[in-house]
């Protein structure tokens, strides 16, 4: 059964491909991002970053900078205005346990690139120039930024991060059974530190309004998080801080937490009583938030027929010295495969770096790469086809959650449809057996998985006398298509054309919604918008029934349809009234409703909810020179209902492209002598360019899910998970070389 939203039971827009409603604004340059709003007398801040990774600031000389005409102030730890002093006040809504970093707090250096001064000037160029004149003397200590060296001191984080499931207790006896297994594999896997690098660098514009209140434009994935942070750090009443962010130039997790440019912009604005904008440079995008490195060991013990008997997955992941950042790395192995003896561990080791942050499918990208590469190795060790092996160990229940069944899991269909489209049956499993000219051809497959979540979320709907509808809430559209799907849902629910619906997002004056992340926005905001629109529909219906000679006088709400701007008796369009006439007759200028939606507790008590995928990759590798061309990807996705196949496909394409980067290119290279990422720019940190990307086919398999009324499970992350493993497995198939450390660069192929 397909879920429906419109009261007629027939969706006009939902489920159909629709162009982005924010498209015209984005292709004309009219869409404004956080660092593009201006204000009278706007000042510009330029950040001075620490050259060392650990130690203290011995002296800062800002005299030369202050002497530059146009410089308003140089803020450092020595002259910064007071802000809240308890850690608690700096903990934003999604902060991990610990003491959040405070910019310009004292003379201590916690990591390379830490902000040590903010130069505030009348124009951007003056600020940037004066920032080069600030002289900082350090007393440097030797930093520890080598995870392998620090792994000996790894620990089980005493405080767990909210929303992150720690590894389940082991079951069976993985170690003993591994030792006696007929087929045994145990290897280490890593992927390099990756930085999010959304195309828009982080930026905040703090506008001081005439009444002393603040309007803040911040690059954040949920404005309520920045509002709460600013209120508690600066001791402000929430209603004096309006945070807006109508568009985000990507974020991928880097915009979940308020970053230091927001703190600095508000600090300067309050200190100087003027509006201030702080935009980070591209290089400064390496000074916070990254996908952490994890040292992983996967052990698989199996029968000769491929039946898993023992599974262990251990990870040591880096965090900072001041926060216990955590993500789910190892649990996926237990969720994906049926096995009677499983041991999963996850520990942290502290390094002198910023705190890592969620980056598209945090933990899953890391852990699933390891388990899905290991499963490919097991396929070769047992002589099974990699898909067969996965089906042999398939599970319909989540062993990490007391064997609760999955709410839905169409992974088998992903394998079947993906394999069909890819032509998997033609594969000769022998490594190095397929070639075209000088190129070795490799085909690889892997599974992807991500949690399907829903969060408490509000939304409002306002139907105006002109028949136009506005809906919205405070969450952000990172480019995910939220504007578009909410418009579709609202239009269907009230039977309006999409052109008559305006969706507003990213404004703390709108009903509160969580940060956009975790692939939960469609379910959460979508349901809330639908409920608000339903409420408006009921209000309109009640008014319609009381109209003089109302054709709906004796009809129940369940028996009417909303279509073409009218309320009609279902099946009899001649009996109905236009919404604008309803409002006019009632003498109201609008109908308004605010609704809340949250996770279905009954469903969650009974089921575990995940999205799944099967990813097929083809690589062509020059046998002699090791150059990899990724020629084909088929990604088959099971993610419940697809609201908009056009934007949904793009979400998956984006995930796949990021997965390609992860597999073949992306690596922030740490010089451990000085604790500094050295390739901190887009010239030397390689993300895929157009020439790297060839055919990507996206398949959405049928899957019915009931976790929320929309039947959606979220698409933001699933496209990236497992993609790197499929590529690494294809590289093995092509070359016979198993590369367990990403990215797979030429040195590893020919080395």
């Amino acid at each position: 059964m397909t879920q429906t939203f419109s009261s007629t039971g027939r969706d006009r827009f939902v489920g159909t491909p629709r162009s982005r409603v924010d498209g015209p604004a984005k292709v004309t340059g009219l869409a404004k991002y956080a660092g593009e709003f201006t204000a009278p007398g706007l000042l510009h801040g330029s950040v001075v970053s620490s050259a060392i990774a650990r130690g203290r600031i011995a002296a800062i000389d800002s005299a030369a900078a202050e002497a530059v005409p146009g410089v308003a102030k140089v803020l450092t730890h020595a002259n910064r205005p007071r802000t809240a002093w308890l850690d608690y006040n700096y903990q934003d809504a999604v902060a991990p346990p610990g003491s959040p970093f405070r910019a310009l707090y004292d003379d201590k250096i916690h990591y390379s690139g830490q902000p040590v001064a903010l130069v505030v000037a009348e124009d951007f160029e003056t600020a940037r120039y004066a920032a080069t004149l600030v002289r900082v003397e350090y007393e440097a200590e030797t930093p520890e930024t080598d995870l392998a060296a620090a792994a000996g001191s790894a620990y089980d984080p005493p405080k767990k991060r909210n929303g992150i499931k720690p590894p389940p207790k082991p079951w069976g006896d993985a170690e003993a059974v591994f030792d006696t297994s007929a087929v045994k594999l145990r290897h280490e896997y890593t992927l390099a530190v990756e930085h999010h690098n959304p195309m828009e660098p982080h930026a905040s514009t703090v506008v001081v309004e005439e009444d002393g209140s603040y309007t803040v434009y911040d690059k954040i994935q949920g404005v309520s998080n920045s509002q709460g942070y600013l209120a508690s750090v600066f001791g402000l009443a929430k209603d004096t801080v309006r945070v807006m962010n109508p568009y985000l130039g990507g974020a991928f997790g880097s915009g979940l937490r308020p970053q230091y440019q927001l703190f600095l912009a508000m600090l300067a604005a309050r200190d100087l009583g003027r509006s201030v904008r702080v935009v980070l440079t591209r290089d400064q995008m390496w000074s916070f938030s990254f996908r952490p490195e994890s040292l992983q060991t996967v052990g698989l013990g199996a029968d000769r027929d491929g039946t898993l008997q023992a599974l262990s997955h251990d990870a040591v992941q880096q965090t900072s010295r001041f926060e216990d950042y955590q993500e789910v790395v190892v649990n996926w192995s237990g969720v994906l495969y049926k096995c009677s003896n499983v041991a999963l561990t996850y520990r942290l080791a502290q390094l002198d770096t910023p705190t890592p942050a969620d980056m598209r499918a945090p933990g899953a990208v890391t852990g699933v790469f390891a388990i899905e590469t290991a499963m490919d190795e097991l396929a070769y060790a047992t002589g099974l086809d990699p898909i067969q092996l996965r089906l042999k160990n398939y599970t319909e229940a989540d062993q990490t959650a007391e064997d609760k069944p999955f709410g839905s899991k169409a992974l088998k269909a992903c394998f079947a449809e993906g394999a069909e489209r890819f032509g998997w049956a033609e594969r000769n499993p022998e490594p190095r057996s397929m070639r075209e000219g000088r190129e070795l051809v490799g085909w690889g497959v892997a599974t992807g998985i991500w949690e399907s979540m829903m969060m408490q979320s509000g939304a409002h709907a306002i139907l105006g006398a002109d028949g136009r509808l506005e809906v919205g809430n405070s969450t952000g559209d990172l480019g995910t298509g939220t504007y578009t799907i909410l418009t579709q849902i609202a239009a269907d629910t009230l039977g309006l054309p999409m052109e008559d619906v305006t969706t507003k997002l990213g404004d703390t004056r709108l009903p509160e919604a969580p940060v956009a992340g975790g692939s939960w926005t469609a379910a959460s905001s979508g349901t809330a918008v639908m409920k608000a629109c339903r409420d408006v529909a009921e209000q309109a219906f009640k008014l319609a029934r009381t109209m003089e000679d109302s054709p709906l006088a004796n009809v129940d709400f369940e028996r009417v349809a909303f279509a073409k701007g009218r309320i009609e008796v279902a099946g009899d369009p001649t009996r109905g009234v236009a919404l604008v006439d309803v409002l006019r007759a009632a003498g109201v200028d609008k109908l308004e409703a605010t609704a809340e939606a949250g996770p279905d507790k009954d469903f969650n008590a009974k089921y575990e909810a995940y999205t799944h995928s099967a990813i097929f990759a083809e690589v062509k590798i020059d046998e002699e020179l090791g150059q990899v061309r990724l020629t084909r990807i088929v990604s088959a996705i099971a993610a419940g209902k697809v609201l908009n196949p056009k934007t949904a496909r793009s979400q998956i394409l984006g995930g796949v492209v990021m997965g390609i980067g992860s597999a073949l290119e992306e690596e922030s290279m740490m010089d451990t002598r000085i604790g500094r990422f050295m390739n901190h720019n887009l010239g030397e940190y390689h993300v895929p360019v157009n020439a790297d990307i060839h055919d990507i086919e996206v398949i959405f398999v049928e899957e019915e899910d009931r976790a929320n009324p929309l039947g959606v499970k979220g698409l933001g992350e699933i496209g990236v998970v497992g993609t790197a493993a499929a590529i690494a497995n294809a590289v093995f198939h092509a070359t016979g070389k198993r590369i367990r450390h990403l990215p797979i660069t030429v040195d590893k192929i020919i080395g």
Partner: protein
């Protein structure tokens, strides 16, 4: 970006004079590297002499070859019909570098003068002898996977990042310069330097000299050539190793071989002994391997997982493949990334 004076020059003489008139002058044309470095506070010119209005953008016939004006953009050169038909090696090398936008702005002279992409050179938080003579080389013992394997010194292991110059080296182009003491010609092989004790000097240009043209000799290697570039992604990345190869064949015998490597040294790297070795030899894999072995025998690498030892084998194989492509008359395509 620091504060600087600006002079717009109308003639070469005016440019040379303006350059001499202030401390720390720099000529600016396309600006694609200089402005980049100024934003990183690596370059802090006292005066910028804008030479974009000088009449130096022509591409002209000269002595059976071509004269490329210093201000001809990389795109103008690469897409010039004469360059495409007679010097496809040069066209391909240029098109293998940077992006369309950068090639539209970058000039021929500027390409010659672009500076290394060493991470440490670019980062003022770290010591670098090229940026601050005497401060030390951070790349040695650091992250050196993009660094040089030939002609390094204890003071610098940086590479020259140009693709165009690698082709110019193989073509034995001649750089025409003008300066306070008049005009002179510098063979491309003598234009760039090895780092030695003075890595801060990239080239043998004397202070105040301006590149006015690059002369391509009549021998164009237009039939048997390739520009093969290996990098960390398939476009818009600097070479780990690149090979510019030009051959003149007599039947299946090598009459003349020209071979220059990019991404492996402080200048486009040529090895005359290897070229001589090929002369008179059959144009086959065996000969090419012998030449490659001779070249890489001189390699000196930086160790460790972040080092560049892999470049030796990569270079060896790339040389062989490049020579094979040249001999077979199947030059590497720019847009089809399959390596022929």
């Amino acid at each position: 970006m620091n504060r600087f004076e600006y002079v717009r020059a109308g003639t070469v003489a005016e440019a040379v004079q303006a350059f001499a008139g202030a401390e720390g002058s720099r000529f600016i044309a396309g600006g694609t590297n200089l402005i980049d470095l100024m934003k990183y506070d690596v370059e802090r010119p006292g005066r910028l002499v804008d030479i974009t209005r000088l009449p130096l953008d022509r591409i002209e016939e000269r002595d059976g070859g071509l004269r490329l004006g210093a201000l001809a953009t990389n795109a103008a050169v690469a897409y010039d019909a004469r360059v495409q038909s007679r010097y496809p090696l040069l066209a391909n090398a240029i098109l293998a570098g940077a992006s369309a936008q950068l090639r539209n702005a970058a000039s021929t002279g500027g390409n010659l003068l672009q500076r290394t992409r060493c991470y440490y050179f670019y980062d003022t938080a770290t010591p670098c002898n090229k940026r601050e003579p005497g401060s030390g080389c951070s790349a040695i013992g650091g992250i050196a996977r993009i660094h040089a394997i030939f002609g390094t010194s204890a003071h610098c292991i940086a590479t020259h990042p140009s693709d165009m110059c690698v082709a110019l080296a193989a073509l034995e182009a001649v750089v025409q310069v003008s300066g306070p003491k008049g005009e002179r010609s510098i063979p491309i092989a003598d234009f760039h330097r090895l780092p030695g004790n003075t890595p801060e000097q990239d080239t043998n240009l004397k202070p105040g000299e301006i590149v006015v043209a690059v002369d391509l000799p009549a021998r164009d290697f237009g039939s048997h050539y390739t520009y093969l570039k290996l990098r960390d992604r398939l476009s818009y990345a600097f070479a780990l190793v690149s090979v510019a190869a030009g051959l003149e064949l007599d039947g299946d015998q090598v009459k003349t071989a020209r071979l220059a490597l990019g991404g492996v040294a402080h200048k486009p790297w040529r090895n005359r002994k290897a070229e001589a070795l090929l002369q008179g030899k059959p144009a086959n894999r065996e000969s090419f391997q012998a030449a490659a072995d001779l070249i890489v025998a001189e390699a000196k690498t930086q160790g460790g997982p972040q080092g560049n030892a892999f470049k030796v084998e990569l270079a060896r194989r790339a040389i062989v493949r490049g020579l094979e492509q040249a001999a077979a008359g199947t030059p590497q395509s720019i847009s089809d990334k399959r390596i022929q």
